[in-house]
């Protein structure tokens, strides 16, 4: 029965940051802390601090919604480097 019960876990699908082809790059200078990227990130991978946002790249899948929704163009989607 225990094997049928799951508990809350970050990264339930592993380090989903590995899925990315494009990575959101943040320019704090342009940001007005409107909170829209935080609200509309499907991964809950954006946190809003006092003076900036922080993106959790371990889990960010690079969907690009944050870049599109930002009215100040403070986020840009940049192709991941080849490694």
């Amino acid at each position: 029965m225990e094997c049928m019960i799951a508990k809350p876990s970050k990264g339930s699908a592993g380090k989903t940051g590995l899925w990315r082809t494009f990575k959101p790059v943040y320019d704090v200078e342009k940001c007005n802390l409107c909170h829209l990227c935080w609200l509309y990130c499907p991964e809950n991978a954006i946190d809003v601090l006092e003076d900036r946002i922080v993106i959790d790249y371990d889990y960010c899948k690079g969907c690009g919604i944050c870049a599109k929704i930002c009215a100040k163009k403070a986020i840009e989607m940049v192709r991941e480097e080849e490694t």
């Binding site: 029965m1 094997c3 049928m4 019960i5 799951a6 508990k7 809350p8």
Partner: protein, 366 residues
């Protein structure tokens, strides 16, 4: 105290005395009067349970499953096509290890439409993990329902009580009803946290995707745990003694009949008649189909065994006979009779058993 109750009303009485907390059922002949009586009891304040008028059997068991997962003592009842409609949920409930109790008023599966008794519907559950009991009369239907709640909650497996459509469900008999205090001592309040509980503030996720091995472990554990039912039934603490089987004139029997259900009453009369003629015949009546009483059947030492049953497995034969054959020491003969509710009376059984003893009996009795 002795009351005159039909099998269905006896079941309703037992559900009430068990202080059941949640009932959801959809009417189907011949189960309907259980549901109606329970609705009446709730409306009158005799039973303080939530009674939900669901729109289908699938939802009946789904609602009961939800209530049980939330910690309540929950009950449903159905027959035949209703069981088949809730069949998916039956397996889900068993694998979830929830102690739901269900009354199964046995009825033939169509087409053609047929509201009379036949045991095939109950037997469709035999692989699922449900504990399956079959009563012979209203008293047993009452007793097994109460024992069912206790055993189910001890072992975390759902429990179905079978009773023959019309023959038990709608036949009024004398039923000995214990006092409520006796039942309360026998059946305490359900433990709210087993095997798991879904409640706000307890962030568990139950039943999601997991390893293949989990499915094996689950079924293995169910297989192991259902074997405890025999002892639990024998030592349940109920005011009457019960076992997985009833032994009728079995001690010195040279010929043994294995059967289950209401018609066993008539079969026992036939056994008495043949005994008077000097035939050493007896009956092992199955009160439980799951767990299968393998030990009791293997212990039978006689010339030959006759399994008479109200079901059929197309392409194989009698379901009970197949199972009895797999463990019996003596040769087993199989007869399928009474399907569709066809009446098999005392005279029929006398003739049938005589031909069995004389070695002149076919596979069908019509």
């Amino acid at each position: 105290m002795k009351k005159i109750l039909t099998g269905n009303y006896a079941v309703a009485e037992a559900v009430k005395m068990a202080r059941t907390e949640f009932i959801a059922a959809y009417p189907i002949t011949p189960q309907t009067t259980i549901v109606e009586r329970l609705a009446e009891m709730v409306e009158r304040g005799e039973l303080s349970a939530e009674f939900v008028r669901v729109e289908s059997e699938h939802s009946a068991l789904a609602a009961v499953y939800g209530a049980s997962a939330g910690g309540l003592r929950a009950f449903t009842a159905t027959s035949s096509h209703g069981l088949l409609y809730m069949y998916e949920m039956c397996w889900w409930v068993a694998n979830s290890r929830l102690p739901v109790v269900m009354a199964l008023v046995t009825r033939t599966i169509g087409p053609p439409w047929n509201i009379h008794t036949d045991h095939t519907d109950l037997l469709t559950l035999r692989d699922s993990g449900w504990i399956l009991a079959m009563s012979e009369n209203a008293q047993e239907a009452f007793d097994l329902t109460l024992i069912g709640f206790k055993v189910a909650e001890r072992i975390d497996l759902p429990f179905a009580v079978g009773l023959d459509g019309f023959q038990v469900s709608h036949t009024a008999e004398v039923v000995d009803i214990p006092e409520q205090e006796e039942i309360d001592r026998f059946l305490p309040e359900r433990r709210r946290d087993r095997p798991f509980v879904i409640e706000p503030g307890n962030p568990i996720t139950v039943g999601g995707l997991t390893t293949n091995e989990c499915a094996m472990m689950l079924r293995h554990d169910m297989m192991r745990d259902i074997e405890k039912v025999g002892d639990l039934v024998r030592n349940s603490g109920y005011i009457r003694d019960y076992d997985l089987v009833e032994k009728y004139r079995l001690e010195d029997a040279e010929y043994v009949v294995v059967m289950m259900g209401a018609w066993c009453g008539d079969a026992k009369d036939a056994i008495d008649i043949l005994r008077d003629e000097g035939v050493q015949i007896g009956m092992l009546r199955l009160r439980f189909v799951r767990p299968f009483p393998a030990k009791e059947i293997a212990k039978i030492d006689c010339k030959k065994i006759l399994v008479v049953e109200r079901d059929s497995s197309i392409g194989k034969g009698g379901i009970i006979a197949t199972e009895v054959k797999s463990v019996a020491d003596s040769p087993v003969q199989s007869v399928m009779a009474g399907l569709g509710g066809v009446d098999v009376g005392v005279e029929d059984f006398v003739a049938m058993f005589r031909r069995f003893v004389e070695g002149d009996l076919g596979e069908w009795w019509m």
